[in-house]
Symmetry: C2
Subunit: 666 residues, 2 copies
């Protein structure tokens, strides 16, 4: 590690002269003019943009799923007990199955449709959305993406929910570090079966959706042993319950994860396997198999690469979770803003609308802008995933990690702030925001713990950084843009005393200037991480792993810097492609997003002398000014989220006084 890092750092010093990549031109979005009213036509354009410019088929999927959710089965049941709620959720998922809207094989061929199906469910109920994603995404996805032709026969039973499945990877002892799971699958040459076994209690599968009650099958990840040799983790399809009786099968012990802080409609459970035998063909054998002669075969010899390939094949789940998180944010914001537009408190003669308080604007509007910004990026990642080929699998994987963490943290913050912004009303379950926050909170943890995902992003940036200098890789990866532009433009500009202090409005509202700041930060942080690792290894004699663990503050900052830079690039790109009518409002939000992210990290920008104090102060005023400008457009901006009226059931998003005037309502 030591010498490689040293090499990187030395190279970094030669940066300005070494760079030969052609600079990429940024779209300059110009300055802010008076904003035209967002009429119906413009809102319609924003809607399509936020839905990622869907094809007719994807739109039709959306229409259908929204239609199904009009049925009485889907009305909120806030008083349901845990067992009742689980039953209702099961019935809802079965109804989704019977609607025939989605087919499992479309998960691979029509990913956009799959995401639309999943994220639409969020507007109705999170438990249903998660149980559905366990069935079609995690369980179905593992059969479809890790299995081969011989497993296609299961697709129909999965689509009809006749087979209800689990995805059993996490164990009591190992969550984030999945490579450490201990369950074993030993090949029995005599019977051509695999014997699935839980060697000790830390190897119990835990948190498995559908495992406590409803699951009939599970994809179980276990360490494959063939003739005494270990081949690492592989997925096995295991029957766990008799569909007729609901009883667990021989050798299977299931336990309940019990009540949770949310998502109580999902029956998460634990599983132990006592030498459970499954037929040889139940190995989901895309990445590894045992042939007729009992030999282990694999298309990918390196076990680490093989395991990564398996995880990358499942990355669609992570993208879907990001998109679901975006919709949860949209729901919270639309409710909070619609309430702020009718709720008055304090002031005479007529009390003020909440939305007219600067503090309220500053609480909500940057979140609206960020929801547009991340929404565009998450759509981009979904698109990259849908159209991926092998060459960019790694890039897509890392985009998916970075945006999953970012979208879900944004979701958590947004729902919390929205709940507080609605005062006591935000605490009512019927007003949706609070319950959504409780239910969705797990998205910070599952499909990859956010802190751990951000480390993966940073690690990949370092690898790319290195390969850039060693010339071992073309510059089209995660960093290409940063590099092409970064070295030539930014470092020089940073040294310009005049620009550092410049704070005219035109300058502050210039998207190019803002993007430069993000590129600069990412690049500088990359160098800081390298330097920190190097000094810890060299001067403090730490191991590479220890040096990494002691640099995690910088590592997290670096990953954030990367995600935010990509977000602004994507936003600018989307603006360039968009209709002139909506360009001004999109510009405004892109700039608000960039300015508030800079403000959040102003200590960094100032202590790294990228801005002078006078500029920092001007940025603060610019944010207030933009918030004031957004005030008139707040309603159409959230209406463009396009949440159907029949799912916008929160009383405070409607005429709440009329609603609460009836003592029967709550």
């Amino acid at each position: 590690m030591d010498s490689a890092l040293g090499r990187i750092e030395n190279l970094a010093h030669h940066l300005e002269i070494n760079d030969t990549a052609a600079p990429i031109t940024t779209a300059s979005v110009g300055h802010i003019a008076a904003l035209p009213v967002l009429d119906k036509d413009k809102v319609a354009r924003l809607k399509l943009m936020l839905l990622a410019h869907p094809s007719d088929e994807v739109m039709e999927t959306r229409r259908q799923i929204m239609e199904v959710m009009k049925e009485p089965l889907f009305t909120p049941q806030l008083y349901a007990t845990i067992p009742e709620f689980r039953e209702i959720t099961l019935q809802r998922v079965k109804r989704l199955a019977s609607s025939n809207i989605l087919k499992l094989d479309e998960l691979m061929t029509k990913f956009r449709k799959f995401v639309m199906f999943q994220d639409s469910l969020v507007y109705c109920d999170m438990s249903m959305a998660v149980k559905s994603s366990v069935q079609w995404g995690l369980f179905g996805g593992s059969v479809a993406c890790l299995g081969t032709e011989r497993h296609r026969s299961y697709f129909t039973a999965i689509d009809t929910a006749e087979m209800l499945g689990c995805f059993a990877l996490t164990e009591l002892g190992h969550g984030s570090n999945v490579k450490g799971v201990e369950t074993t699958a030993t090949y029995d040459e005599a019977t051509k079966e695999f014997v699935i076994h839980t060697p000790q209690d830390t190897a119990q599968k835990i948190w498995i959706g559908n495992a406590a009650q409803h699951g009939t099958h599970a994809t179980v990840f276990a360490n494959l042993y063939v003739r005494g040799a270990s081949h690492g983790l592989h997925p096995f399809l295991v029957a766990i319950r008799d569909p007729a009786t609901g009883k667990t099968l021989k050798g299977i012990t299931a336990a309940d994860c019990g009540p949770k802080m949310g998502l109580d409609g999902v029956d998460n459970g634990r599983l132990w396997f006592d030498n459970v035998r499954v037929p040889g063909e139940n190995l989901l054998n895309k990445f590894g198999d045992v042939d007729a002669r009992g030999n282990y075969t694999t298309p990918i010899a390196n076990p680490n690469v093989r395991f990564n390939a398996m995880l990358e094949a499942l990355i669609g789940g992570r993208v879907t979770v990001s998109s679901m998180a975006m919709n949860a944010s949209k729901m919270g914001l639309e409710i909070a803003i619609k309430y702020a537009l009718q709720r008055r408190q304090f002031g005479a003669p007529k009390e003020e609308l909440l939305i007219d308080y600067l503090s309220h604007q500053r609480r909500l509007f940057p979140l609206v802008a960020a929801t547009y910004a991340y929404g565009i990026s998450v759509n981009y990642v979904a698109g990259r995933f849908a159209n991926r080929d092998e060459r960019d699998a790694r890039d897509v994987f890392l985009l998916a990690c970075g945006f999953k963490a970012t979208a879900t943290w944004h979701r958590a913050r947004t729902l919390q702030i929205c709940r507080e912004a609605c005062g006591g009303m935000g605490f009512a379950a019927s007003n949706k925001i609070g319950v959504l926050r409780n239910d969705a909170d797990v998205d910070l943890t599952y499909e990859g713990d956010n802190t751990v995902l951000m480390q993966a992003v940073a690690k990949a940036l370092l690898v790319e950084f290195k390969s850039y200098f060693t010339g071992s890789k073309r510059i089209t990866g995660m960093l290409s843009y940063t590099y092409a532009k970064g070295h030539i433009g930014i470092f020089l500009r940073n040294k310009n005393f005049y620009v550092k202090r410049l704070h005219t409005e035109a300058h502050l509202l210039d998207a190019e200037m803002l993007l430069d700041a993000f590129i600069y930060r990412e690049f500088k942080l990359l160098r800081m991480v390298v330097k920190s690792l190097r000094s810890k290894v060299k001067n403090e004699k730490m191991t590479g792993a220890k040096a990494w663990n002691q640099s995690l503050d910088l590592v997290q900052q670096l990953a954030t810097a990367y995600v935010e830079r990509v977000t602004i690039e994507r936003f600018l790109d989307e603006i360039q492609k968009s209709d002139d009518g909506v360009k001004p409002i999109l510009n405004l939000m892109c700039i608000l997003f960039a300015l508030t992210k800079i403000e959040d990290d102003m200590g960094w920008f100032l202590s790294n002398k990228y801005f002078a104090p006078v500029k920092a102060q001007a940025i603060n005023s610019a944010i207030n000014k933009i918030c004031g400008m957004m005030r008139e457009h707040a309603l159409p901006l959230v209406e463009a989220f396009d949440i159907p009226a029949h799912l916008m059931t929160a009383p405070i998003a409607n005429d709440y006084i009329a609603h609460y005037s009836n003592p029967k309502n709550y």
Copy 2:
């Protein structure tokens, strides 16, 4: 407003020369030496400090209440339905009543005992804690603090919970702006009764604890009319349900607030009054009365001052909520740290403990330090309240506002971070953190919405600022310390180029230097608010109210600056008084608290040129270093929270592998 502000600003310019107050000496805590082990004796001292050095009687209260909570009635019932949970909560509160531990009149005479009673309940269940605080704090408190001798006869029935009460202030139309409530109480001279009436649906009382099901009585706030003249809000004791049948009485309509995002053991409800007659003596008449001849009488002629006096009399509830929030934070942190000390993930040959990751330390340790810091301050506020006299009622009121907002926001952040730091386990209801977070979330809103409370703090600071310059008030109020020290020392020091850049360890870890930074920020923000108001009124021709609403970003910052400055002062004061054995660890935490708060707001300090970039960077490293030093002391530091083992039921705070090895457990 304009001219007053102008005056203030002009005066502010003459600051340095005008100041004559003697500088107050700060305790310098010196530099950090190697820290001694926190043995049993030292932990015992920390425990007493965190419990605010309780008297024997208060300790005995604690012992008794903890003992009661060992009974089976108090074991967690995580599967309870909403109706069941409400019933369990009712039974628990009745059991608290029958324990005879607390008497209502002690709310006024032994406030420390009351707080200890209330905040201990948090460790068991938040719904019970809140229902108890409604009974003894809000309802009992209103009878005790707003009533007079003639209402003492109710005390016994309240203590035995024979009378179960509501505190009915908030209405559908008015929450934060309580002065706007619309319920009327019209004096009927003929019968000497008051007629309580809900004139329209916006005047329905809403969110009232105990109102949906269990309450037999309510303190109802209504606008008093005597002979056609309005006298503003007054509290009336109103019977609302027949205790025998549980039916609402004639003229009363009750409705249920329904399921919530937490706290479902409390039956929050809504109330309408249709010309309900109550006897004359049911006016809680401490601050206003109707005499035998039908004349309105009051000890406080000014209706605004009168209403404020009423609210100030009830401020104990706000202090209690702060103390409850501190205990919720303690619970979350103790669980998260105990888990981090046994959970291993990643790394070879042996996996690393979570607590050894720098990122984990940075997530949790500053929160431990802040919990000590705010804990000390909240104890201080409780002490000031317990010993208040009329002269400092206003100061205590504002301290209570500022620290309620700060303690509850800290609680929200702490529990969220703790929940994430425990990964999937943090999502289990049995592991407490998540449910506590859901239940406690309302503390951000009730007993005064945090955003609104912070405005009240800032407003008071401006008033004090003004009176300081006009000489109309002695300088012993909220700002005294800042002023005495602020002008002479800080402004001069700020101009010192050398100190700005100084970043030796000894300097960075010097408590005096850190306190100076907080004093400087508060003082500068005060001036900035004044300047902003003035310029908006004068140059932009806004009304005073509008200028205020458009300065709310600065206003919130100012209030935060005030609270944090007071927190550090209190912490330093506590350290000075404490035993030498625990001084080093308390120093370390005080400095960590100060440094992380500075880091959070580094953009401000740098853009106001209080620090130079080089110093900012050094602060960042110092935080990492201190986190490393705290590692060895993390366990004793959370054990000093002194949460009894029988309430530390979270499996992950104990041997979680043993627990989950049994499939019956969850």
